[in-house]
């Protein structure tokens, strides 16, 4: 049996750390600051698994019962 990878779990959606330019683009299209996005802690197991640092923005692709697939973002904060 392989080692447990939490990113494989059915409750955990797909995560991706966004590039600087992408964040800028996102910020413009949403008209909000990075800090206004929902947060994710640096100590979150997923942050550790994907290596996200405070200041990063992660793109989350969720399976949604209503929309099929929905994209959300979280801003990584210290803690």
């Amino acid at each position: 049996m392989g080692k447990f990878d939490l990113l494989d779990h059915e409750l955990v959606p797909q995560f991706r750390i966004m590039a600087k330019e992408e964040i800028e683009q996102l910020r413009k299209s949403l008209g909000v600051r990075k800090e206004d996005l929902p947060w994710m802690l640096k100590s979150d197991p997923v942050s550790k698994a994907i290596g996200a640092k405070p200041g990063d923005v992660v793109e989350i692709v969720r399976k949604s019962p209503v929309a099929g697939r929905s994209v959300a973002y979280r801003y990584v904060v210290p803690g």
Binding site: L11, P38, D44, R62, V66
Partner: protein
């Protein structure tokens, strides 16, 4: 059915080709080419041939065709056109799938398809929530009203399952209050390929996780006043069933470091160093509660068969430990302890778990609450990266406005604190403005003049 509509469609299609975008034209040209070849080969049925498109798997497709085309799910002509049309709009995936499903097999021209997509898009835009809509209030009402109809009792599963899980309003309150541990923690464990099909293998896994303490296998425990020692009589049958032998038990007890341990027949004799009645009493508890095997917190495991696989339900939850046990499908492991999920799988998983748990509670009671309301609650609870309860110590208690907090609970304390600290209220929220008698920032009232002093708005 006459062939006229099909012919009409075809001529229409032809006249349109000039005005269409390159991508569409290309897709269509491809489709047409195949359609015409098919029409030739199949003679009388041009419509049917076109409808099936070139790749759609159907009985009528020539045996050679599936081989020549790509093996992945084949795209019909409609689908191809839809794809090029949909690129313009940002429709949610579920709508796209529905569009494709409904149009599949229908004989539609590109123009008709594009109008369908346009119509869908405008209906979608109309259905979107408008800026200024009180989504939170609507969600609160939508969850709150059915909540009044929920039963207060926790009911027991009849028969086989033997596990009692809190349901109904108490459970919903537990979820929303973000309690550290639910009153009835339980896990659902799916097994890996090797263990899921046979009962024997499933039992092996149970043996690995079920917590066995001395009290579970002891027939009796007595304190012998004369020799000042404990006599623990082990139920040999039970012990054997749980794969434990006396020596192992004795050794485990020895690790408690309470005194000499010896085995005599079916009994284990422990001679503690102290004789103080108080300590003896406490010692008795410690011995009985000693974990011999299994995982801390997992009190009982029930095996159930669910469509060809064995699933384990546990009484008690310990996600972090159970993850390490061999034989468990770690991608589907589930617990109703949401804070455990947040700890081990992260905040997004916890969000999903909140939605799942809360929706399940409402669903079991036969209450038809739209899942989007539940999703909003979960989003709010997890927006800071930690699970916050909805209530005094969480969402409601962390509002920036003094008046809004005072309006919720413990009014005097908030007003007093605010006065002592010289707090100000910017009157930005709904509650504050209701209190002072101003128009609330909701609906049309949300529009305000807004100036940016720097270009980038930071």
């Amino acid at each position: 059915m006459s062939e006229e509509p099909s012919e009409k469609a075809e001529t229409k299609e032809e006249t349109e080709t000039e005005t269409e975008t390159k991508a569409k034209a290309k897709a269509k040209a491809k489709a047409k080419a195949s359609a015409s070849t098919k029409a030739k080969s199949e003679g009388k049925k041009p419509k049917k041939a076109k409808e099936t498109g070139k790749e759609e798997p159907s009985k009528e497709a020539e045996p050679a065709q599936p081989l020549s085309d790509q093996p992945s799910p084949p795209k019909s002509r409609n689908e191809e056109i839809l794809d090029s049309l949909l690129a313009k709009y940002s429709l949610p995936e579920s709508l796209v799938v529905q569009l494709k499903d409904k149009t599949a097999g229908l004989d539609l021209t590109a123009d008709q398809l594009s109008r369908i997509v346009e119509e869908t898009n405008s209906a979608y835009i109309k259905a979107l929530i408008e800026p200024g809509e009180a989504a939170g209030t609507v969600a609160a009402q939508s969850v709150g009203e059915p909540g009044t109809q929920m039963t207060l009792r926790t009911f027991h599963y009849a028969g086989v399952r033997e596990l009692n899980v809190t349901l109904g309003l108490p459970r919903l309150i537990e979820i929303v209050d973000a309690r550290r541990t639910p009153s009835t923690p339980t896990m659902t464990l799916y097994l890996d390929e090797e263990h899921r099909v046979s009962l024997e293998k499933a039992k092996e896994v149970v043996a690995r996780i079920e917590r066995i303490a001395v009290e579970n296998i002891a027939k009796s425990i007595e304190y012998d006043m004369i020799n000042s020692s404990f006599i623990v009589e082990i139920d040999a049958e039970v012990a054997e069933d749980k794969c434990l032998d006396l020596d192992f038990i004795a050794k485990s007890i020895e690790k408690l470091k309470v005194g000499k341990v010896s085995v005599e027949g079916n009994s284990i004799i422990i001679s503690p160093e102290t004789t103080a009645p108080e300590k003896i009493k406490r010692l008795r508890e410690r011995i009985l509660d000693l974990r011999l095997k299994g995982i801390k917190g997992i009190k009982r495991v029930v095996i159930q068969k669910e469509d060809n696989e064995y699933v384990l339900y546990t009484d008690g939850s310990n996600l972090a430990q159970v993850l390490g046990v061999k034989g468990i499908d770690t991608t589907r492991i589930y617990t109703n302890n949401i804070s455990e999920i947040a700890e081990v799988l992260g905040i997004e998983a916890a969000r999903n778990a909140i939605i799942r748990e809360a929706f399940q509670v409402l669903d079991q009671q036969g209450l038809d609450v739209d899942i989007r309301h539940v999703i909003l609650v979960a989003d709010l609870m997890t927006s800071t990266g930690k699970i916050r309860q909805i209530g005094r110590h969480g969402v409601s208690g962390e509002k920036s406005s003094v008046l809004a907090r005072a309006a919720f609970e413990v009014t005097v304390k908030h007003l007093l604190d605010a006065a002592a600290h010289g707090e100000e209220d910017a009157l930005e929220g709904v509650t504050e403005n209701v209190i002072v008698g101003q128009p609330v920032p909701l609906g049309t009232g949300i529009v305000e003049l807004f100036m940016r002093f720097s270009k980038d708005g930071s």
